[in-house]
């Protein structure tokens, strides 16, 4: 990432130098008109030295971290050096004054957005001024407007620490809750388009299709915010829209600063939307939300004022690609609040409606197909009904088996076909590609790598893999956590990597695919890997295992999922508080998924998440215990068998153990645990089902296996919220309700019972 930014910077810098006389700075109104200056110094090498110092300042500015202090000190040193050298050569007074001004700014404290805005106006001015001074030309006009814009009215020349955040009233009086929700839902979609688009632009800044998509997204945003009377948001959207409009029309190349600004703007919207939903749900109503709106607006102004022009090659390329020239139906008119776009319209309709056929094809990142927004409850209702239809249909088919009527059999076959299709279609309606969730990670990796000073590439594969919308929503947080972990603990610093003979840039690969009725999401990094011995030592230190415990490598890796375990030797902001991975595993298991870990010390770690395709249906093993039938999710079943008489041993006071391929696993008599009179007491006559939850296993003793079946999961409802043994219920083939066992709860239950018994 850093090299790319460097390249972009140098390119734009050179162009800027080449175009001294038509820069936007010269065009800005001059508060301090400067008089022509005679050359005070004809020594070119000295000027070159000043220029190189200034260029280094510019470089520092390009990479300055608003939060960190290291770069600031380097910048301060450079500016001090530059100031010394300049004052040693009797400069024209304005140059001297500008230099003193810069020294004052840098001494004032951390480089915030406002400071950055000032410096990014100051630096090109200095470059021009030095050239003008060298050649004896008229000094350029001081870009007072930009500098002033960066300092709010009435502010002393000493810059304050940072621009105050603006407190936004999230839900102004009279806000229609329904409309607001729609606004937020749409905002989320638009933000995804924006974020993805902007990150594409970072690598290919002149991609006209992407530019148009991002521009349109902000435009729609502005319209929606206007319709919701969110004036401040509308203003931010307007500013960002102008910035993108300039880029779209080939007037400027989106450099790193511009992209950061756009992303900061997008963050404002996303924070706003999240807070609005939070308050709409009745939480903290009326709480004001501080948003960095002034800072973002200032930095848009600064970016627009800084004389960046696309290199000639890019300028030529832009019109050649065509679409940019045809899109801007509104390019000529200044972007105005567009209240004509109602908040209720979808992105698809507003984009299509206002831009008609001249709209270039959207990138695959944004949904292009016509769509209808449907309340998920309606969808769930439909899925329920279809499930019932399937059961009713099979009951009718069962009843007609006795009939010899061939015509009836044919009709029933036809009905069966339609029912299955209907079921498939109903299920697929909740399925969406995982693309959105994956693409959010691009931004995460970019920001995390930047923060950690690492160089990390994210490779995505299988983004088109579809799974249930709810699963996608819920998988987001665990993924974020795992990716942060991989970036923070997995991937080494560039130097360390080089020393280990690896490429300096680390790679995180995120892929999704279908496998045997599950969606598999695999996260693999090529970092330092996990060291089983270290993990074991840590687990002993934390008291998670006893000192004499024998662990296989995989069991050792599994320790990172144990509560209170953190492998980080230092605690960072990002991860390492040890609350992470156990929550990740719990969340995944709550979604009836599971996560496995594998690692090769020195060459990386991989996490494999298995998720059900949908939360509405699971594949279950139907088992019979006495009169009752239970459903065990196949995901938690490892194997099932009828134990031989020497497989079961009884340990005094510790209950029964079953020898499963040399490993002793506690036996759980399901009937006893669930208060059902089991038909079979003798384990050798029953069936043992080995279930797994986390890294613990239990052998469930059941009477019989009745088969494997896909069942529609139903919630047990409020009456049963306090029970933890069953994950839900399902209607079985004969119309009875079967309860779905939760392996995690069974393990916990039996552990407690064993402890009390012991």
């Amino acid at each position: 990432m850093v090299p790319a930014a460097k390249r972009v910077f140098f390119r734009s810098y050179d162009v800027r130098r080449a175009g001294v006389d038509n820069s936007s700075v010269a065009a800005s109104s001059a508060r301090h008109a400067l008089s022509p200056m005679a050359p005070a110094m004809a020594d070119t090498p000295a000027f070159d030295h000043l220029r190189s110092l200034l260029q280094r300042c510019a470089l520092e500015l390009a990479f300055v971290d608003p939060e960190g202090d290291d770069r600031r000190r380097q910048l301060q040193d450079l500016i001090a050096e530059l100031a010394d050298d300049i004052s040693a050569t009797s400069p024209p007074p304005p140059v001297q004054a500008a230099m003193e001004q810069a020294a004052e700014w840098i001494a004032a404290g951390p480089i915030n957005q406002q400071q950055l805005a000032r410096f990014s106006a100051w630096e090109p001015w200095m470059a021009e001024a030095i050239t003008a001074w060298e050649r004896g030309f008229t000094l350029p006009a001081w870009p007072a407007e930009t500098i002033e814009a960066a300092s709010p009215a009435g502010m002393p020349s000493q810059p304050s620490q940072s621009l105050p955040d603006e407190n936004v009233t999230v839900l102004p009086a009279g806000t229609d809750a329904e409309f607001m929700r729609l606004f937020c839902v749409e905002a989320e979609e638009l933000l995804q388009d924006i974020e993805q688009g902007v990150l594409t632009l970072e690598t290919s800044p002149s991609d006209s299709d992407t530019l148009a998509t991002v521009f349109r997204a902000f435009h729609t945003f502005k319209g929606n915010a206007g319709a919701m009377k969110l004036v401040t948001l509308q203003a931010v959207a307007h500013e960002l829209e102008s910035l993108l409009d300039a880029a779209r029309r080939g007037k400027r190349l989106l450099d790193r600063n511009a992209i950061d600004t756009v992303l900061a703007g997008a963050d404002i919207f996303s924070r706003y939307a999240a807070e609005a939903v939070h308050q709409l749900d009745g939480n903290d109503v009326g709480r004001p939300l501080p948003l960095a709106i002034p800072a973002v607006i200032a930095s848009v102004h600064a970016v627009l004022a800084s004389p960046s022009k696309p290199p000639p090659a890019e300028v030529a390329a832009a019109p050649a690609t065509g679409p940019t020239a045809t899109v801007p139906s509104k390019a000529g008119t200044p972007p105005a609040p567009d209240a004509g776009i109602p908040a209720s319209s979808t992105a698809a309709t507003s984009a299509a409606g206002s831009k008609s056929s001249s709209t270039p094809p959207l990138r695959s990142a944004s949904s292009s197909a016509a769509s209808v927004r449907v309340d998920t409850r309606k969808l769930d209702g439909l899925v329920d009904l279809v499930g019932e239809l399937v059961i009713a249909e099979s009951m009718v088919a069962q009843a007609s088996l006795t009939s010899a009527d061939e015509h009836l059999a044919r009709l029933l076959g036809h009905l069966r076909g339609i029912t299955r299709d209907l079921q498939r279609t109903a299920m697929s309606m909740r399925m969406v590609p995982i693309r959105g969730a994956f693409q959010k990670m691009t931004r995460l990796v970019r920001d995390t790598a930047h923060e950690l000073g690492k160089d990390i590439r994210l490779e995505l594969k299988g983004e088109e893999t579809e799974l249930d919308r709810t699963v996608i929503e819920e998988i987001g947080d665990p993924l974020v956590h795992m990716i942060r972990n991989a970036a923070d603990h997995g991937i080494e610093l560039p130097d360390e990597r080089k020393a280990a003979g690896k490429p300096a840039a680390g790679t995180i690969r995120l892929e999704a695919f279908h496998e045997g009725g599950f969606v598999v999401i695999r996260l693999r990094d090529d970092g330092r890997g996990l060291d089983p011995a270290k993990l074991r030592a840590k687990a002993i230190e934390r008291g998670l295992i006893t000192a004499d415990a024998q662990l296989t490598a995989r069991e050792a890796f599994d320790m990172i999922f144990a509560p209170g375990f953190s492998t980080a030797s230092r605690v960072t902001d990002l991860s390492g508080r040890g609350v992470g991975m156990d929550v990740v595993r719990r969340n995944i298991e709550r979604l009836r998924g599971k996560v496995e870990i594998d690692s090769e010390p020195g060459s990386g770690t991989s996490f494999t998440i298995f998720m059900p395709l949908t939360l509405a249906i699971i594949e279950g093993l139907i088992v019979g215990v006495g009169e009752q039938r239970f459903v065990i999710p196949t995901l938690s079943v490892r194997e099932s068998f009828r134990p031989q008489s020497d497989h079961v041993t009884t340990v005094q006071g510790r209950g029964e153990l079953v020898d499963v391929r040399g490993r002793l696993v506690p036996l759980l008599r399901l009937g006893d645990h669930l208060g059902v009179a089991a038909g079979i007491r003798d384990p050798h006559r029953g069936i043992v089902v080995v279930v797994e939850a986390g890294h613990e296993r239990r052998c469930l003793l059941v009477d019989e296996l009745l088969g494997k079946q896909e069942v529609v999961i139903k919630s047990l409802g409020e009456t049963f919220v306090s029970q933890k043994v069953f994950a839900g219920a399902a209607i079985l083939g004969d119309g009875r309700v079967g309860l779905i066992l939760d392996a995690t709860a069974l393990v916990r239950l039996s552990r407690r019972n064993t402890e009390t018994a012991a």
Partner: protein, 176 residues
Amino acid sequence: MSPTETTAKASGPDAGKYLVFTLSGERYAVPVLAVREIIRLCPITPVATMPPHIRGVINLRGRVIPLVDLRVRFSLSAPPDHDRTCIIVTQVASAAGGKRPYAVVVDGVEEVATYDQSDLLPTPDFGGAVDVRFITGMAHAAEQVITLIDLDTVAAHDPLDALEPSITAPDTSEDA
């Protein structure tokens, strides 16, 4: 009973139509507006770890609905199910807002009766002998006294009354 629990019902029962049913020979009623349908006893799936008055769940046209035995809930002697035993499917207030289905087992449905305000009495003072949490009041009509039940409160107490999953440890000695 604590005063707060009784004052909650200070408004007393509303006049209107009630569905009258019997529980162990006593007559009870619920507002007919809360009743969705009356069905015959159907296969019940018991749910372990729940208190005894929760019989389990039933399948009502694809919906999984809790089934509560009001006889056990009110500590009445519960005769075994017989041919008049039936299930009343009702709607009760959901904690999440709105309504949710809730089914109760009763010994038999009697009639739909209309009670005027003059027929209705507030919950009498039973002197602490009777659990009045679930009673909105009494109806006195046609020489009979009928207890009016507040099913919303009955349903709301189910999760609170549910036992901790404290199933006794399996006795392994017999197999040893």
